[in-house]
Symmetry: C2
Subunit: 430 residues, 2 copies
């Protein structure tokens, strides 16, 4: 289970490598080409990762990603938690988030619940990274993941910055990815090419996360790079929408982290411009959307202890209602244990939906599992039990839930609840 052994998820299994877009829920857009793991970053980006000593294991724990463009464009999204970590606060309050030049990311320490000292520690590493890279401090974003309440070993990080700066290169995305991983069982990384009217642009991403938060190792990160030319407003708009449709729609354990961070950076080095409200914007948006959705699904698939994942798709006439129902199903330990054991016990879905929507009794809910209707208007209907039991053994399972009314639809991707989850989170104490 060591991080990074399994390049590109389960592509390393015997036989032909699996394409990046392999979930039933994310068709590969036609104008997007998978370049494979070794293609490297888009023009204008360099990255590296080193072990600087934050992790007692000696595994890589410090990553640096740099955009060499003088006036790059970027967009960022952070956790909505009430208890954000120091690097999140610092990045939000003191960075030019639409013009980032670099990201300094570490694993092994979240620098959360560390107060004034945590902010000072973060500021020191930000300053050192800016100096090493030769950019302004306000253009260096920080991202940390690891144990909450531990202080950052600043001296180790400062030495690490010097080391990692010396190794920056376009093919450094794999090393950067390794340095940000914690309990991840496999890499979540992509190198894509998007065909636009002005020529091809490259779109790469490195993502980490195996649980919204895990025992001492918190958080999801997703860093995305492109050499396309985007205006700040376009970058922010596209990234915001795509994050909402991907990372905001998945749950391993329903636990929002103190450190979640997602950043898009655009070097513009390809010279291919994406004009607002153009056909190219649509095509790039589709590529970005598919990329983030596949990464989000990979994160759920790598959810702590996960053996099977599901999509709850909920339709109805009331947006808040369908959202509550989808979250209720996705976060129910009873639904998650049933998913784990491929148990056709859909009564747990009725229960979770009803519990999420108090005051609506009697609720006319329709339920279909893998396309097989089992409940109509809140009442059990006959179905082929053997067929259903077989269908639920798939690695990706779909629950369709229909509530009264029309016009609204939502989805949540989620993992099962297994013995392995308990082992990871209970048996290995701090």
């Amino acid at each position: 289970m060591s991080a990074g052994n399994d390049v590109f998820g389960d592509r390393s299994s015997a036989g032909a490598p699996q394409p990046f877009f392999h979930s039933r829920w994310v068709p590969a857009p036609e104008h997007v080409r998978d370049l494979g793991p070794g293609a490297g970053l888009p023009a204008g980006f360099r990255a590296a990762g080193v072990a600087c000593g934050i992790k007692p294991s000696g595994n890589p724990d410090l990553g640096l990603l740099v955009c060499d463009a003088e006036t790059p464009v970027s967009a960022a999204r952070f956790t909505a938690t009430g208890t954000p970590a120091a690097p999140v606060l610092l990045s939000q309050e003191h960075c030019r988030l639409d013009g980032l030049r670099a990201i300094l990311a570490n694993s092994g320490c979240a620098n959360a619940a560390t107060g004034r000292r945590g902010l000072d520690d973060a500021a020191k590493t930000q300053g050192a990274a800016a100096l090493a890279v030769g950019v302004q401090e306000s253009t260096v974003a920080l991202a940390s993941t690891g144990g909450i309440s531990w202080y950052l070993p600043v001296d180790a990080v400062l030495k690490g910055i010097l080391a990692v700066q010396g190794q920056l290169r376009r093919e450094g995305d794999a090393d950067f990815q390794q340095a940000i991983q914690t309990t991840d069982a496999f890499e979540k990384r992509a190198c894509l090419e998007v065909e636009l009217s002005g020529g091809p642009v490259r779109l790469t991403a490195q993502c980490k996360g195996a649980g919204m938060i895990s025992p001492n190792f918190a958080t999801m990160f997703c860093f995305v790079q492109t050499d396309a030319v985007l205006e700040p407003h376009t970058a922010d708009l596209l990234f915001g929408v795509c994050v909402k449709r991907s990372f905001d729609r998945c749950s391993v354990d329903g636990q929002l982290s103190t450190n979640d961070t997602a950043i898009l950076m655009c070097s513009g080095a390809s010279g291919v411009r994406i004009a607002p409200e153009s056909e190219d914007e649509l095509r790039f948006g589709e590529a970005l959307d598919a990329l983030l959705r596949q990464l989000a699904i990979l994160m759920v698939k790598d959810g702590e202890g996960a053996a099977r994942i599901a999509r709850a798709i909920v339709r109805g006439g009331h947006l808040e209602g369908i959202e509550a129902a989808a979250r209720g199903v996705a976060n129910s330990p009873l639904v998650k244990t049933a998913l784990h054991s491929a148990d056709p016990n859909w009564g747990r879905i009725v229960q979770a939906v009803g519990a999420a929507l108090p005051g609506t009794a009697p609720l006319a809910v329709d339920i279909a599992l893998e396309g097989i209707p089992v409940c109509s208007a809140g009442v059990a209907i006959p179905y082929d039990e053997a067929e259903l039991a077989e269908a639920l053994k798939a690695k990706e399972v779909e629950y369709e839930i229909t509530l009264p009314g029309e016009g609204a639809e939502t989805e949540v991707f989620f993992s099962d609840l297994s013995h392995e989850y308990v082992t990871i989170n209970a048996d290995y104490t701090t």
Copy 2:
């Protein structure tokens, strides 16, 4: 783990029997005497339980409780779910809930998601029970627990009603209790005497529940009897407040059931009247409150797979905020796995509180575990790690969480998340 072997919870362990009030969180009221399990129901009540064939195991599955008073007083509370079971709908819509004469309760089948047929089935058993007992249909409440989506075997229940009616007696509360149990590992039952100004009254209760809902065996029930004379308004008021302070404040898996039912019945047979707003009302209310709180804690203690339980007590200035924080902590699988392993990883509490209160950053949260402060204004503070680790090994653990502001306080009792929970809910498929 068979139901009913372990009379009165863990009282059966070697040595002196444990008193009913044994949780640190529920001091026994001074004017309340524990009569022990064999004392029987208050005057005016009879009960019995039989095996009528709903459960394939042949275990008891049908219980009948009758109040012989001509004009009894009662009060009831039901699940708030949007998908209530047929017996809940029928009891709510067609019963005189302030004047119930009988309760027909079964385990082994929830009669939920069964639509029109489920309501008809429930109505038939209600009619048969009314006939057997010799009371009006509208005075017979129904309560079912078991598999969702299964139809009630009406013929078996009708035969069972005749059998159980023939066995009604004041000492039948133990049999009644057994007939309503499902995955419960031990009985949750009490026989108390409350000293009032007009003399003693008896207060008994039978409770079931080991998870708000469990795999195919759903629900919590609590049936309470007294021979005190209460007015309907007083009964409803006291019972409503006490249910809110007990069953509404506990969580095994955060899952509201389709069938939750709690009913208080007052025979008045003691002739001891409890006048509204009197000292006696206060004393009786204290007894009822302590009874329901101890039963709620027993339910959490018997939570599926539970080895350790906790109370999250949250204080602050904003009622909705402290409620969200308390529920967030109690239902976090990360907090629950940490509780299980006595892991002093309080970063998970910071994370759960922050996640429950988005938009409040940076949140000045104080945390103390077992009275040992670990976090002040959102920042880690020094503490004796060995002392904390030792304290967390208690069977009942307390987390104190203080948010900004003053004047509001809430609590949630919850169980841990163990391998056994996953085993119960995932490994035994339907």
